[in-house]
């Protein structure tokens, strides 16, 4: 096609809307816009008609009425007298809890499995391959059900923990794994515990400052500070000092067998453990593959170049390999975190009270507000994903290779 500016201006004809490339996209968009509008109008019209036929309307005031049901795992106080909105909030916190803990455990197992799969040790590499393939090729739902069955069927009853019973508590008699859940010590916060926690927070900030100072010093002078021992000292010493100086303000409440069940301590329900472990194991297999491909993506020449420059192996890993591998690893890793968060809605299989069970389950059943409930549920998941993928975009643009 010749340059448009060279030609004499053609007079506009109607046919050009279809056959002239300059106008065709406009035509297509107008037609598409009309079709989409028609579709939307049809949808809204249908919904309004159907709702009117059922005598319903779209209102969200059910959120402020009394929920009337109990939730068996609460991170914030909740009784059946509270509102549906608070029930949804409890559910959201439960979803976020299992997603957060799941991401941490999945990352730990996944990185281990991915690195070990590349190991030169034949046996370990094969075992890890079997693990990854088994996890990736079977549905998550089966794993959730299997772990739940292990937790409820293959663990002893609390009564077995009595004197002469077949079961015993682990970790110096502090943790009991039973078919009613895992019982572990619960911290009791007395006066002064706030100060200890504040010092812990300050120590963590201090570690970041230390790392910054160490890097600056290395860049300026070439001297390398022992960051790891200093960080550990900074983390432990002040907190311990405060803890003992304030007279041990934080104590532990141990679970004790009483009656037919354990009393005291912290009961972690089997539904939570099953969902958490299954999500972590399943996602870890995907993370293992991501880590493996990320490490393989850094060409061997990089390692050789670093060695040729006389950089030590551990610093080669830290300064040359990891920064390049992480650029490949992080984006799919975050999308796995996103998948894990969305998969936590499989809580329905084990009766864990996540946001889908409270807002999208019992609340809908009790109030008959399917449309509103599902809409809010969808918006919650959508906002969560958009926030996470937004963070990922920020990261991506910060590590992108600067092409000039």
């Amino acid at each position: 096609m010749a340059d448009v500016a060279d030609q004499p201006r053609e007079k506009f004809r109607l046919g050009m809307l279809l056959y002239d490339v300059r106008y065709r996209s406009l035509t297509i968009q107008v037609v598409a816009a009309i079709l989409i509008m028609l579709l939307l109008v049809q949808l809204v019209d249908n919904t309004v008609t159907n709702l009117a036929a059922l005598g319903k309307d779209i209102r969200f005031n059910f959120l402020w009425s009394t929920a009337g049901y109990d939730i068996n795992q609460q991170l914030i106080p909740f009784t059946s007298q509270d509102t549906h909105a608070r029930a949804a909030y409890v559910g959201i916190l439960n979803t976020l809890l299992v997603a957060f803990l799941g991401c941490i455990l999945a990352t730990i197992i996944g990185v281990l499995a991915g690195v070990l799969r590349l190991s030169k040790n034949w046996l370990i590499a094969r075992v890890m391959t079997v693990y990854v393939e088994c996890m990736r090729n079977t549905p998550l739902l089966i794993w959730i059900l299997i772990v739940f069955a292990v937790m409820t069927e293959a663990t002893p009853q609390p009564s077995q923990f009595r004197e002469g019973g077949t079961a015993s508590m682990i970790l110096w008699d502090t943790v009991a794994i039973s078919n009613r859940g895992v019982f572990m010590p619960r911290p009791i916060w007395a006066d002064g515990s706030g100060i200890v926690m504040a010092i812990l927070g300050l120590s963590i900030i201090g570690i970041f400052v230390l790392r910054y100072v160490a890097r600056k010093r290395q860049e300026d002078t070439g001297q390398i500070l022992p960051v790891l021992p200093l960080s550990l000292a900074l983390l432990i010493v002040p907190v311990m000092a405060a803890f003992f100086l304030l007279g041990r303000p934080i104590t532990l409440d141990y679970p004790v067998l009483g009656g037919f069940n354990f009393q005291g301590g912290l009961q972690v329900r089997n539904s939570f453990i099953a969902l958490w472990l299954a999500l972590s194991l399943y996602t870890s297999a995907f993370i293992a593959e991501i880590v493996r491909s990320g490490i393989l993506a850094v060409s061997n020449g990089q390692t050789e170049a670093a060695f040729a420059l006389g950089i030590q192996p551990n610093r080669t890993m830290q300064l040359i390999i990891l920064p390049q591998a992480l650029r490949v690893i992080i984006p799919p890793l975050i999308s796995q975190y996103l998948n894990l968060t969305k998969n936590s809605s499989l809580a329905i299989a084990v009766g864990y009270m996540d946001v889908r069970s409270t807002l999208g389950g019992i609340t809908i059943n009790q109030t008959g507000r399917e449309l509103e409930g599902m809409l809010l549920l969808g918006i919650f998941y959508l906002i969560t994903s958009l926030i996470i993928s937004g963070l990922m975009n920020v990261y991506n643009s910060s590590v992108k290779l600067k092409e000039r």
């Binding site: 968009q29 709702l51 040790n121 090729n137 549905p139 299997i146 299989a349 959508l382």
Partner: protein
């Protein structure tokens, strides 16, 4: 010897190769290099051997001491105690119920079984028409059928009772083969195109004319489009095809109150049905279940989501802001919300969005939802492939004077799709695994059936055997898919390595 005493010694023949020192060859060398190359490696190997040994020594006796014939879990336990075993799997549940896990409550072809294996009893009862015909009482038929089923073995029931889904599966393999392996002759692709209608007829049954006429109608619409486009250009052809499609399947003149001949298809079908009432007994979607259901949803989802996903990916790259905006919001909304929520939307809310009075099959709704869900993920995978192509490819296609569709079809998509094969297959594997989620909206998928089996008094309290069986079924299919994607990547690799 004395004759050559002043000639320097030169060896004329090669020394035979001496064997490598012990420990540097064969098994020992391999073990040294791969398992015991250093102290840390040795410790890790020993730990791994210990872990693998303790896992296998717990599982293998359980698996191989398994009890294959028993009527209930209690019977299993008695046999186990009688044999003096600590642990033994109760595979009897699989032996007894595998047909149910595979097919759910899909009805067996009782008339065929009766004709094949109970000719005498059937004759005594008055012939097939008397037992299975219209006028017979239900109780009589149920009694006959249940007596028949109790005596037939599971494998006979499998082969002859479920011949319809089995035939559909066998034909599926034939239909898919030419797509998967390009070495097979190309004319087989015609059968692949026909397969959806064949499968529908086999699985759901009913009148043979419905799938046949739908297929013919689609062919007719395409032919009209072809004819018109040959004379008046591509755009007119497309419009003609759409108009012909509407005329055949719907009533385009209904808006202005004209009924007349339209729609053509149901009218033709009622004529044909009354003249030649051929077909198979109709089976409603409610009866579908088991692994068959997973395959049906998975295959339909895979086949339908690929074109939709590609279209969405192209739309997302479009230079037209409206199209791009629509595609982006569709993809993000679908991907941002878990599949369970979409499935609940399909089962709870879809009736609100449809015109009053319409309602359609739950299975169809699920297939649509799963397809939309997978296509959004596919779109992102294909978009990655499109973005990975160097810009020169687009420019080269433009400079050859190809229009948009031709450049996409001939230059861009073949390369982009090749890059994205691993991602596409991963999405398909994910889709296939996600078919288990339909259990939550009341369809009988394999995992739902394990609950149903456990709910019976005989098998109350059995877990592992059922989960392992279902897990192995899924593993086989998904593992095959992932291996196939590796093979395909290898075959399509064009760079020189």
């Amino acid at each position: 010897m004395s004759k050559v005493h002043n000639v320097a010694y030169v060896r004329a023949d090669m020394l035979p190769e001496s064997p490598p020192p012990p420990g540097a060859a064969g098994v020992v060398k391999w073990l040294r290099e791969n398992l015991f190359s250093g102290p840390i490696n040795t410790i890790m190997t020993l730990i791994t051997i210990y872990v693998v040994w303790s896992v296998l020594s717990a599982i293998l006796p359980w698996v191989f001491n398994g009890i294959w014939t028993a009527g209930s879990l209690n019977e299993c336990r008695e046999i186990r105690a009688a044999r003096g075993l600590d642990t033994a799997a109760c595979w009897a549940v699989i032996n007894e119920r595998w047909l149910q896990i595979l097919f759910g409550f899909y009805p067996t072809d009782n008339p065929l079984l009766a004709r094949l294996f109970y000719a005498d009893e059937l004759a005594a009862a008055g012939g097939a028409e008397m037992v299975f015909g219209g006028g017979i009482t239900v109780t009589q038929r149920v009694a006959f059928v249940s007596a028949m089923k109790n005596e037939l073995s599971n494998s006979v029931l499998f082969l002859f009772g479920y011949w319809r889904p089995l035939a559909a599966l066998a034909l599926l393999i034939i239909a898919v083969a030419p797509i998967l392996y390009s070495a097979l002759p190309r004319f087989l692709l015609v059968f692949s195109l026909m397969y959806p209608f064949v499968a529908f007829f086999l699985l759901w049954g009913g009148s043979v004319w419905l799938p046949l006429l739908v297929a013919l109608g689609i062919v007719a619409a395409i032919m009209v489009g072809r004819l018109v486009s040959a004379r008046f250009g591509a755009l007119a052809g497309m419009i003609a095809a759409i108009v012909a499609f509407l005329a055949i399947f719907m009533n385009p003149l209904g808006f202005i109150g004209v009924d007349g001949l339209f729609p053509l298809l149901p009218q033709l079908r009622s004529v044909l049905d009354s003249a030649m009432p051929w077909g198979l007994p109709y089976i409603s979607s409610d009866a579908f279940g088991g692994f068959m259901l997973a395959i049906i949803i998975g295959t339909s989802g895979i086949v339908l989501s690929l074109p939709l996903g590609i279209a969405l990916a192209l739309g997302r790259q479009s230079s037209m802001p409206l199209i791009k905006w629509v595609c982006v919001s569709f993809i993000e909304v679908i991907r941002g919300v878990p599949l369970i929520v979409w499935l609940f939307t399909a089962s709870l809310l879809l009736n609100y969005f449809l015109p009053p009075g319409t309602s359609f099959d739950l299975l169809l709704r699920v297939i649509i939802m799963v397809t939309l869900f997978a296509s959004a993920y596919l779109a992102e995978v294909v978009r990655g492939g499109l973005a990975a192509l160097p810009n020169g490819q687009y420019e080269a296609a433009n400079s050859l004077g190809l229009d948009y569709w031709k450049s996409m079809r001939l230059i861009i998509l073949p390369q982009a799709l090749k890059i994205s094969i691993p991602g596409i297959v991963n999405t398909f594997i994910g889709l296939f695994k996600d078919t288990t989620l339909v259990v939550f909206i009341g369809l009988r998928d394999p995992l739902g059936l394990t609950n149903a089996i456990r709910a019976t008094s005989e098998w109350n309290g059995i877990y592992w055997e059922l989960y392992i069986f279902v897990g192995l079924l899924f593993f086989t299919f998904c593992f095959f898919m992932s291996r196939y994607s590796m093979y395909l990547e290898q075959r399509l690799r064009t760079d020189h390595r």
